[in-house]
């Protein structure tokens, strides 16, 4: 059989990748292009015609102070959450690779929050912040705990950060664990013989050899924190007074609650570009710092 004809190639490609190509284009590529088109129309979500409005949606996105506030808030939240997630995850990874008893049990336990969807996690923590901590504060008469943190502006942000750290630390820990395991025992032993203390070995040997783990964890946490939606919806719902509305929730409301689909789509694109720039920049800087043993 001649395998170099166009008809053979087409048949083979369609047989193996035809459905994949169709589904991928129908769900990702076409909507992406169509979404770009939508940003130039003022579609209300109902009518058949989508009037062309040029750059008006981008103008209103740039003029939408609520959006920029939400974006700024997301930025602050993401920076703090990303740092804390990775610090906690790294420390946990160090502890569960240090050879203590039951380290597999601990690893499995720390990962549990990642099994459960953000909606359920948010409601659980809402109970913790609104009821359990308040009860604890009242019975021990600790002033800072006697009212719900979720009721104050800064408190709600703090709650979002706490839940994110709790949610992602276990997952990132697994990646750091893989990083620790990849540092060869020979190198560590050599460092010990040269007189390094435990901490020095970590700072000067393990960390430089684990740069790829850091890049990966940072990328995952940055993208997730920038796009946070589920936990935001169930934990704070943007309250109090819209002070904890993150960028993704603002985009959702703009499009589906206020029916400004064009503006919402334009704001989603801006959010995506901001997030992609931060993510890629981080990877680029990280790759430069990589060393090999």
């Amino acid at each position: 059989m001649n395998t170099n004809t166009m008809s053979y190639k087409t048949k083979q490609f369609l047989m193996f990748a035809g459905l994949t190509t169709a589904a991928f284009f129908a769900v990702v590529i076409l909507p992406f292009i169509y979404g770009l088109y939508l940003t130039f129309t003022s579609w209300d979500g109902v009518s058949k015609n989508k009037p062309f409005v040029g750059l008006a949606n981008y103008m209103s996105a740039f003029a939408d102070t609520d959006y920029w506030q939400a974006l700024g808030r997301t930025f602050i939240y993401a920076v703090i959450a990303v740092i804390l997630v990775n610090v906690v995850a790294f420390l946990l990874a160090f502890l569960v690779t240090s050879g203590v008893k039951g380290q597999n049990f601990f690893r499995a336990g720390f990962f549990v929050p990642n099994l459960i969807g953000g909606i359920v996690l948010g409601y659980i923590w809402k109970f913790v912040f609104n009821r359990a901590l308040v009860a604890l504060g009242t019975s021990l008469s600790i002033g800072a705990l006697s009212t719900s943190w979720l009721a104050t502006t800064n408190g709600a942000m703090l709650c979002m950060i706490i839940v994110s750290v709790w949610q992602y630390a276990g997952y990132m820990m697994l990646i750091y664990v893989a990083g620790f395991m990849s540092v060869s025992a020979d190198v560590l032993e050599a460092a010990m013989i040269d007189g390094c203390t435990g901490i020095q070995t970590i700072v000067h040997i393990s960390v430089p050899l684990m740069v790829s783990s850091f890049v990966q964890c940072l990328f995952l946490t940055i993208t997730r924190c920038f796009m946070v939606y589920d936990v935001n919806l169930s934990l704070t719902k943007g309250e109090p007074f819209g002070s904890s509305v993150m960028a993704a929730m603002h985009v959702y409301n703009q499009a589906f609650t206020y029916k400004n689909y064009g503006t919402g789509q334009a704001e989603a694109l801006i959010l995506f570009i901001v997030c992609a720039v931060v993510g890629v920049l981080q990877v680029y800087i990280g790759k430069k710092a990589e060393v090999s043993a």
Binding site: M15, F24, F32, Y123
Partner: protein, 285 residues
């Protein structure tokens, strides 16, 4: 005391400190779950009075469960979640692994183009696609509110990542000579793929299945946009709607949250090793 003894004693102390830190961290991690479990067996008045008490003053009760199950239509949404998750996962794995096979084994232009687009598309977050998706599939085609539509979208979104992972696996783990032997024995490409290549991909299949099934099971935003009918709700949507309706009835809420978590927690007890390995190897790629 000589050097060795002192070193041994220091090591013991540092071990003890590490275990104490780990235990404290562990308590922080499971504390929210423990709270749900102790409160689910209390009546509403007891939870309000003292959410930290182990047992309510009005005693131990399991009546929250049947009521929550009925009011959130638990069995129905469990069934929806299950069928959507299983079908989406199976279809994703079959389609993605086949596509990866043809892409790896041929350097045709179409293959390169498809794979390039897939890799590039992995950075697009769902928020950028949700408005056009609703517009296209709701407005233009009017096929929202079907489980099949959600499955189709789940598959479409997860194909890139899955194809990427199978691409790596076929490249490194499937020797071309094995395929050539199958061809000489009279296998067509189709037979070669299913009889020789696919069985060799088992570890990657497990990884993709775990990552995708967990993502499908827990997804909220996409299903909430596609499925607006009560009888189609998946567990995350049912939980969210239930919370909105009964948020003051905290006993029922506790039961609903526990029910929503239970299936995946039970699965975790049995498949823990595979899940942890799958998620790690998936992330590292």
């Amino acid at each position: 005391m000589d050097m060795n003894e002192r070193a041994a004693r220091n090591k013991k102390i540092s071990h003890a400190v590490m275990i104490i830190i780990l235990l404290l961290a562990f308590v922080c991690f499971i504390f929210p779950f423990v709270l749900v479990v102790i409160n689910v067996f209390k009546v509403k008045a007891d939870i309000t009075a003292d959410p930290l008490a182990l047992i309510g003053s009005r005693g131990f009760t399991i009546e929250n469960f049947p009521e929550a199950m009925e009011k959130m239509n638990f069995l129905l949404s469990f069934g929806n979640s299950l069928i959507i998750t299983i079908l989406s996962t199976v279809i994703t794995i079959s389609l993605a692994s086949m596509a990866a096979f043809v892409i790896v084994r041929n350097n045709w232009k179409a293959c390169g183009l498809l794979f390039g687009l897939m890799v590039a598309s992995m950075v697009i977050p769902f928020q950028v696609l949700m408005v056009p998706l609703v517009s296209l599939y709701g407005g233009l085609l009017d096929i929202l509110n079907h489980r099949a539509t959600l499955i189709f979208m789940h598959v479409g979104f997860s194909l890139s990542m899955a194809t990427f992972m199978f691409h790596g696996a076929i490249n490194t783990n499937v020797p071309v000579s094995l395929e050539e032997a199958a061809t000489i024995d009279g296998c067509t490409r189709w037979q070669t793929y299913w009889k020789v290549v696919f069985p060799l991909l088992k570890p990657t299949i497990a990884t993709v299945a775990i990552i995708d099934a967990m993502a499908f099971w827990n997804d909220y935003l996409l299903p909430s946009l596609v499925l607006a009918k009560k009888e189609l709700y998946t567990i995350p949507i049912a939980t969210q709607v239930f919370y909105g309706t009964y948020s003051t009835d905290i006993g029922l809420i506790m039961a609903a949250l526990l029910l929503a978590m239970l299936p995946i927690l039970i699965l975790y007890v049995f498949l823990q090793r595979y899940i942890v390995e799958g998620v790690t190897s998936g992330a590292v790629k």
